[in-house]
Symmetry: C2
């Protein structure tokens, strides 16, 4: 007996598929399931199935929803003239937590990454273009990574043709950040985008 | 919409229960389920249920097994005269990976921890005592923690009455360990238990 029983190995493999979960953590998780009550296992198993069966993607913004349209798209108090473009549905919650944005969202479903075979046609770009009119502002809020920046520039080019106002999130020092620990690229952007004190 | 839909929240809560999985990781895992195929969700859900239905504890050693007795207890090539006492079923695999131990195991199911209400009667100690005879050697392999050491000493006392040979794992420098980074308690034990070079 040098290896685990098959059913244990199976669950370890399933847990290992998650991002950020290594073999050791997956093993600890599987043993945790093994050592806990059958209720926990049933609840977990059911929660996974429920999620897949109940949640779908909003047909307008591709955020997550339990209905055809998500609660943000259905909310009449939202300003539909400003559309925030994000990479993933989870990003919407990052913005919503701040309550600083009262517009609507559009989820790309990823970023351009030619090496991984992710081209413009894989992302929800066509649906974005058909949503906007010239009176809109599009706030591109992709991650500040190389792929995120490239996707941002690609979108900005496309949107320019539509003569729509395109903005993106400010780059600069993170609040609470110490100058000593901020990388050079951020410092450069913070100098370029410096603002006047009023 | 400041919070996730209920079914998403449920799954995040389920994942958060695992040891070492915080709210953020649980959230990332739940979104991973959401973004992946229904097959992955079904497989995960089924693997969790299978584990609980197929795996039980060996009636002799309390290790994990798919039958009444585990494959180690059933293996006639194993030396039943030396019993290695471990805290958890997972510990058995740590030993088995080395192939350095050819005896059998006994799982305590935890360690003595009066503050958590874990006394001797909660652990598989009675079944250990009824398994051994005076010709046995009992190798106590609890963790080198305070609770593990206390449990080890408690067992050693009990077993002394049975006039059985009681041993425990050597303490000393871990292989590959640099003296500079080894703690004082380990150094002290390594000096005490120093061995002659032959």
């Amino acid at each position: 007996m040098n290896s685990f029983p098959e059913s244990l190995n199976n669950l370890i493999d399933e847990f290992s598929r998650f991002p950020g979960i290594g073999k050791k953590t997956a093993q600890r998780m599987a043993f945790y399931v093994l050592n806990s009550s059958t209720n926990l296992a049933n609840d977990l198993s059911q929660a996974v199935l429920d999620l897949k069966s109940k949640i779908r993607f909003c047909e307008k913004c591709f955020g997550i929803s339990e209905d055809t349209y998500c609660s943000i798209c259905l909310d009449s108090k939202r300003d539909i003239n400003i559309i925030c473009v994000v990479e993933n549905p989870a990003d919407i919650y990052t913005f919503e937590k701040t309550s600083a944005f009262r517009g609507v969202y559009h989820v790309l479903g990823g970023v351009l990454s030619p090496l991984d075979g992710i081209g413009p046609d894989v992302l929800n770009i066509g649906s974005l273009l058909s949503r906007i009119s010239s009176s809109n502002e599009v706030l591109i809020a992709t991650n500040a990574t190389i792929e995120g920046e490239a996707t941002c520039l690609y979108l900005a080019n496309l949107l320019e043709e539509k003569s729509v106002k395109v903005t993106r999130l400010a780059r600069g020092l993170p609040i609470g950040g110490d100058l000593e620990f901020v990388d050079e690229a951020t410092i450069m952007r913070a100098i370029e985008d410096r603002s006047e004190i009023q």
